[in-house]
């Protein structure tokens, strides 16, 4: 650690690698089954140690310092997970809104799935289900009747659901070339 404080990156990374093993054991013992939380906490602690490495007193044992930080991160983790359980439902929106990665990923997944549908049908689903048009408005914009739009959207969603379920095994259960089917 003293070499690390002086700026020796190699000594530092081997120290962190060794400490991360100890920390993993430490958190695994305390968290039991929650394994992903455990790795998150290890990384969280490594970052905290890095940012606050100036608080290490060279006259004190390193492990005392590391475990004091680990303990603090663990308490913080408990506090946050308790918080998560007790947030009233009305306020929960704020928690979800704070995470921008998840909506972005969902958006990407939806776009990906829609691309697998015939373009015209995908466009109708986008208009009615994502942009919020009514079936009649969407039909007007592409020159289809309200009923035709509803049928197309319904079939499109059905084939999307089938795709999602079958993705891993059967691949694409193609359900193409129905757009010409303008059932009133």
């Amino acid at each position: 650690m003293l070499d690390a404080l002086a700026g020796d990156a190699r000594a530092y990374s081997s120290l962190l690698a060794e400490l991360s093993r100890n920390l993993r054991a430490y958190y695994a013992r305390r968290l039991g089954s929650a394994a992903e939380d455990c790795e998150d906490l290890v990384q969280d602690t490594l970052i905290a140690m890095h940012r606050r490495r100036a608080s290490y007193d060279p006259n004190q044992p390193l492990t005392a310092w590391v475990y004091a930080i680990a303990r603090y991160r663990l308490i913080d983790h408990y506090r946050r997970s308790r918080l998560r359980q007790t947030v009233p439902l009305e306020d929960a929106g704020a928690l979800f809104a704070a995470d921008e990665a998840e909506p972005a990923m969902a958006k990407r997944d939806v776009a990906h799935l829609l691309n697998a549908l015939p373009t015209a049908r995908a466009a109708l689903i986008r208009k009615t289900k994502i942009e919020g048009m009514t079936a009649a408005e969407a039909g007007e914009s592409v020159g289809l009747s309200e009923g035709a739009v509803k049928v197309n959207v319904h079939r499109g969603l059905k084939s999307l659901a089938a795709k999602v379920q079958a993705q891993a095994t059967t691949g694409e259960t193609a359900n193409t070339a129905d757009l010409g089917d303008k059932t009133p």
């Binding site: 690390a4 020796d8 990156a9 990374s13 962190l16 890095h50 100036a54 608080s55 007193d57 930080i69």
Partner: protein, 213 residues
């Protein structure tokens, strides 16, 4: 990101830490806070007019010794509690000892004074404003000490905040002593101590709110 990549990333961003980094940080920020406190005091209260004559009395210096003693104990506590797992017990014991010494002197003065003078020894003429003034003048230093702690790693935020408040209170009371023209040990032992304690309480509350990491 997996843990190995994180370690490489952290090792790649390793700037050397100079020795006594925490001490320097605390000293530097406290100096800024002290200058602001002095400016506040000069603009608001000014220096006592009889300062030249007063500097010949023992009590004038006693006030400095007392307030700086508390400030030093506070600084020690801040540095101890700024480290993970620190508890500052010895530093707070030192603060208690400083208070006890002055309380002892004050008690002797009080008992040895004639009965009709005792009330004035304790209450002076500014007992009702002295603690507020000290707590107010301490605020810039408190901001500085809390800011210094934010760069450290306190694992007991409220206690670390109280240490910051103790240190700021001691320094603030030191500044205030240039204005205050009370000369009785019992007065200082009570009302200065109350002022520093208010600063410590404010620090504990703010520490709880601002020192989480």
């Amino acid at each position: 990101m997996n843990t190995e990549d994180l370690i490489d990333d952290l090792a790649g961003r390793l700037d050397p830490i100079p020795p006594l980094w925490m001490e320097r940080r605390l000293a530097g920020l406290t100096l800024i806070g002290l200058l602001l406190s002095v400016a506040l005091m000069l603009a608001w209260l000014g220096v006592r007019p009889d300062i030249a004559a007063a500097s010949l009395t023992g009590m004038f210096w006693m006030k400095f010794a007392y307030t700086l003693g508390l400030g030093a104990a506070g600084a020690w506590a801040v540095l101890a509690l700024g480290r993970p797992g620190g508890n500052g017990t010895r530093a707070f014991s030192m603060a208690t000892a400083v208070v006890a010494v002055l309380a002892g002197i004050a008690l002797v003065r009080y008992i040895s004074a004639p009965a009709e003078a005792r009330h004035h020894l304790m209450m002076g003429h500014s007992s009702m404003i002295c603690p507020q003034y000290i707590a107010t003048i301490s605020l810039p230093v408190l901001g500085a000490t809390l800011w210094a702690l934010r760069g450290m790693a306190p694992t007991r935020p409220a206690l670390a905040g109280a240490a910051a408040g103790l240190m700021a209170g001691g320094v603030g009371a030191f500044v205030y002593a240039f204005f205050c023209n009370e000369n009785a040990a019992p007065f200082v032992a009570i009302w200065y101590t109350v002022g520093v304690a208010i600063s410590g309480l404010v620090g504990a509350v703010l520490g709880r709110l601002t020192l989480r990491w």
